[in-house]
Subunit: 232 residues, 2 copies
DNA sequence: GCAAAAGTGTTCACCGTACACCCATGC
DNA sequence: GCATGGGTGTACGGTGAACACTTTTGC
């Protein structure tokens, strides 16, 4: 069966840039190895075509693809940009609505870790050649994340429930691509009244254990709406 | 002739939120009165369907629609967001890539002004009922503009070549929806080294004439790339 | 005791903010 | 001379930025 329209129309797809942190708080992106042409065997962003039969919105489609291709669910997801150059797909004109996602890697890495030939995490500073215009999409996503970090809290979505100050700092350093001053960073965060001191320390480290913190979720959500100015 | 595809696909359109300033430096938006159903006679954003036969990109399509429907050309245009709810168009599923534009109204108001029944400027604070989900698009565009103003220079695109300080200030007040302190605003702008004192004064006013300024274009473009922090 | 990371204060410069009066012009 | 908007400076508080040493733990 074929679907016919009076005028030709481009295909519509969604692609997702999924950010996660590894155990060294390095920023990583989830990529999928393509099994079909074009760009067979190349690494690409998880994503796929909109399926009208599924009665889903753009964001639903993004979530579905992430679930199917990478096994991640219930994550922070936000629209990034729509890429519509005519030649970005060699087959035909495909406009793609790109999303970016933040996931807590320690809780969501299952599929990607167990089936390494299909999905794999790559450091943002050391990505392979990507299919289509996906490098451009990744660049835009990183830029967005760098900007976002300056006026909204992030971290909640990327870090485990309990975390240390240095994990938080390394997260910011990883996103911003620059070293930060420990004391200034600490003071800034303390002044936001965003962290809860759990009165616990981490275990299993070969040095002085650090105190553990969690986010004050209410305050976190409020700051997300209201925004702030995080200059570093 | 019909165009057929193996899977159904949504239609793709572009819509534009065109901002301009009137002679009182009030922020306005350009709307078009629809001549066809659905939403016949309602006001709507200029826009239309992607035409694959025209070999145009998304942004090209946005520019084409603006030219055809409102007679504006060569303007600042930036992608805003893609709206894809299934029921946003009663006819069928139409995903729309929204753009927003900044125009110098004194140089671009021709078509809209001469054919008032078709295109008209409306104050952002007093918009009519809009067709489709266009109010939502407008809201998002205003929000974007308010944010943008804080980290990038704008004004160049909205103001005439020569302008006074108070025009610039009213522009910012209009976008931000709040009064600003004259002296602080002035100092802030002066410190950016963005304005060129033209050593001219305005004429035809019934009070002390104000000095005229223009933007230092090079500096303007540089600041746009680099960004700044404009706290007010 | 030594390696490794945690934890902790102070000083300075800059900038955002609040605030009020005189000036130049047209009528 | 009066109405209208144009034009100007200062003081205070807050915050970003630079900077180094001691503490705690595991080995």
């Amino acid at each position: 069966m074929l679907y016919s329209y009076k005028y030709p129309r481009p295909a519509l797809s969604v692609d997702c840039v999924v950010f996660g942190l590894d155990d060294k708080e390095t920023l990583k992106i989830l990529l999928i190895q393509r099994r079909n042409s074009p760009f067979k065997d190349k690494w690409a962003l998880p994503g796929g075509f909109m399926r009208m039969d599924k009665d889903e919105s753009l964001e639903d489609a993004a979530r579905r693809e992430l679930h199917e291709e990478a096994g991640v669910e219930n994550i922070f997801l936000e629209q990034l940009y729509t890429f519509g150059s005519k030649n970005r797909d060699p087959r035909e004109w495909v406009a793609s609505v790109a999303y970016y996602a933040l996931v807590n890697l320690s809780e969501h890495s299952l599929r990607a870790a167990t089936d390494a030939s299909e999905a794999q995490w790559f450091s943002t500073t050391d990505l392979p050649d990507l299919a289509f215009d996906h490098q451009e999409i990744v660049d835009k996503a990183i830029e967005r994340l760098r900007n976002k970090v300056r006026y909204q809290p992030i971290g909640f979505e990327l870090l485990p429930k309990k975390f240390t100050f240095s994990q938080l700092q390394k997260l910011y350093e990883s996103i911003l691509g620059q070293k930060l001053d420990k004391r200034n960073f600490l003071r800034k965060f303390r002044s936001m009244d965003l962290l809860v001191d759990l009165n616990e320390v981490q275990g299993e480290v070969h040095h002085r254990p650090a105190k553990l913190y969690s986010f004050n979720e209410k305050k976190y959500e409020k700051l997300k709406e209201k925004g702030f100015n995080f200059e570093i």
